[in-house]
Symmetry: C2
Subunit: 459 residues, 2 copies
Amino acid sequence: MDERLLELEEQIFELIEHRRFVQLKEVLSEMQPADIAEIFEEAKDKEIPVLFRILPKELAAEVFVEFDSDKQEILVNSFSDMELRQVLDELFMDDAAAIVDEMPATVAKRILKNTDANTRRMINQLLAYPDDSAGSIMTTEYIDLKRNMTVDDALDRIRKIGFDTETIYTCYVIGSRRTLFGTISLRDLLLNSKDAIIGDLMDENIVSAHTLDDKEEVAAMFDRYDMLAIPVVDNEGRLVGIVTVDDAIDVIQEEASEDIEKMAAILPSEKTYLKTGVFETFKSRIPWLLLLMISATFTGAIISSFEAKLAQCIALVAFIPMLMGTGGNSGSQTSVSVIRAISLGDIEFRDMMRVIWKELRVSLIVGVVLGIINFIKLYLVDYLWLKTFDTGAEFGEMLTICLTLVLIVIVAKSLGAVLPMVAKKCGLDPAVMASPLVTTILDAVSLLIYFGIAAVLVL
Amino acid sequence: MDERLLELEEQIFELIEHRRFVQLKEVLSEMQPADIAEIFEEAKDKEIPVLFRILPKELAAEVFVEFDSDKQEILVNSFSDMELRQVLDELFMDDAAAIVDEMPATVAKRILKNTDANTRRMINQLLAYPDDSAGSIMTTEYIDLKRNMTVDDALDRIRKIGFDTETIYTCYVIGSRRTLFGTISLRDLLLNSKDAIIGDLMDENIVSAHTLDDKEEVAAMFDRYDMLAIPVVDNEGRLVGIVTVDDAIDVIQEEASEDIEKMAAILPSEKTYLKTGVFETFKSRIPWLLLLMISATFTGAIISSFEAKLAQCIALVAFIPMLMGTGGNSGSQTSVSVIRAISLGDIEFRDMMRVIWKELRVSLIVGVVLGIINFIKLYLVDYLWLKTFDTGAEFGEMLTICLTLVLIVIVAKSLGAVLPMVAKKCGLDPAVMASPLVTTILDAVSLLIYFGIAAVLVL
């Protein structure tokens, strides 16, 4: 919350405390729904229905949409059927469906009971689409036009039905069975003569999504084509809804959060940080930690099996963390770059060879530079000054460490490049191939390389 | 590229090969600028100007904007002054400024020479804003209205100047010195009577940005308030430009990429993965790797200083990777969650105590669960089966490992929560406090805890 909002919050809670509701209504009417929702969420649960009733009808519905589902449930339970109907009347279809989706069954039932038959049918239809599909984020209210209309007819139609549609800025030209023929922007309508024919003006080169397309791909289309709304069609090419840019932004943010969480070995959750309970947070974090802890057994086993030899050149043990750390960091640099590039659509499976070739060259330079600098550091700090190494094996040990470093970086970056692309090809989420899993694999590989080289040069 | 686009690409390159330009023009005219740019980028450098000249004028400019700066430079250098002026005429001011910004000085000069005085002044003004500011992503072309206009006057004005503005869907009501009084959407204009007065209809509760606001914050406003454009004002409250939603989406994607890169110890770059050269990639990756490699010296030094004691209970060495790995993963789970929540505006510095309290409880549960499961695994696998432990010290060693595990998780999650918030408070980027740096610190802390407990229980 910024300064301005904090001041408003203070003012509002003062007005609430002194029960000055007329003034409160004035202040609230001037505010943005998201801001009101944020401030109301700080209020006590039993105060929220009181505060909510102060809001003008349309604003009330907008604020309702901004609440999280807990608060929405409290509100719905406090509403009379009449009040509930009023709020529902103002909602867009996609928001209504999302709310029904998140409510407990009894509350959802009551909501559906208080909508008219047509809305109920629409909501049920939207809820039937899979969670990650374009269908699940579309709305069914849009401006539809016919090819034989004039611009003037179209503007009349917009004036007639525009109050109930989420956007009027892109209109959809459809045929008798709702087949989508073209789109036309309100801009084109306004900037053309009033008796031009829609069929001549419309853009027939339609960018559209299918109801079952992944919502992430649909969101990416907004980014690529700079659109305000994208029509969604079914198998027969019939227009069934539109996705608007505000929902696309939500999807983009969600997907980025999800990728980031997966990269950090967290199971993604849809709630915001502070609203996720302690136990929920625990549940999203423990699975990967457990898996990674167990799989670290392999690294342990590798060390154990070299135990007898290690006791002879114990100095090498001190460099295990540095080597494993550098391997892990090099690998995750690459895997994270590749994962992000995949999710932005910059690289695809067919670019595999280019990616590997690039990473090989990068890792060679990185490895050699790190190796040389490390050798200088080992020589000056550990050999001359601290005398860390085992007498007689000094140069063998230093060489072992530096050679291992170079090899580890090359292996790490190659694996980091290949694993996410293979995962994507196999239909898995590339983001799972990021740091933690790759690091654990690399830890074991690093140790094998280290002890292998040591066996030749030192032992 | 999807199937459809791959087919188109094949078709287009066939038409190019057979020099069937009339047909090529037909195909291209039906395509989206982003798709054309992607396909053209596969063409040979010397073919691009030829292909570009086939495009209709307006589409040509749209495709030009989609190219990366290398290709834009090739094109500008191939243009006659006349051609250059034609393309520039079609560009929006923000795109023109971005292009000039990315060109080498001589090319930029030639571009500016070929724009009229007014455009030149605008471009120079836009270029003067800092790189990350709202000013740097805004455009200066918008619909401005006066308070005393009627709806009909307003629609006339939109019809007159709407061809040159990036959006006509939000209009800005300004006073004599361009002071911003309010906004009105085209929707409100269309849905109200033709002789209503703008001053009565306009929304005076303006969501606006300041020219010097961070562009990331401006992008977040689009997400929060579901807007299509946000007005940008200067110190005197005068309207100087608008930011449109398509540019906000670009910023959101860029910022997410930047955060992800920082979390993976990569210096952020603006180019896409495949377009970044090997040496550039090297430069963005080596600094953190070097720093982290050098700082791993501390972990090494800690191990070295316990060397003599370690030789007595060498079994403990095998568990160092598992402990450090679990510590690192626990820490980065928390730091990444906190960093993302900060950048989405879900938590702020004043939530510090709530965050720490939450992480303490989570880490206690996570730590104890991991500790117990690990004990069972140690007992069954390492003690009974593999007989890993040093004779006589078995239970002391097992207890040491499990206690360390619990403590490390708690320390890791607390540090992971505190560091990003403190960084943010100090004006640093919280994302730098993610995995790699936190992990390196945790590595050292983990070892100290491990050897400390071992000293009490085993040695």
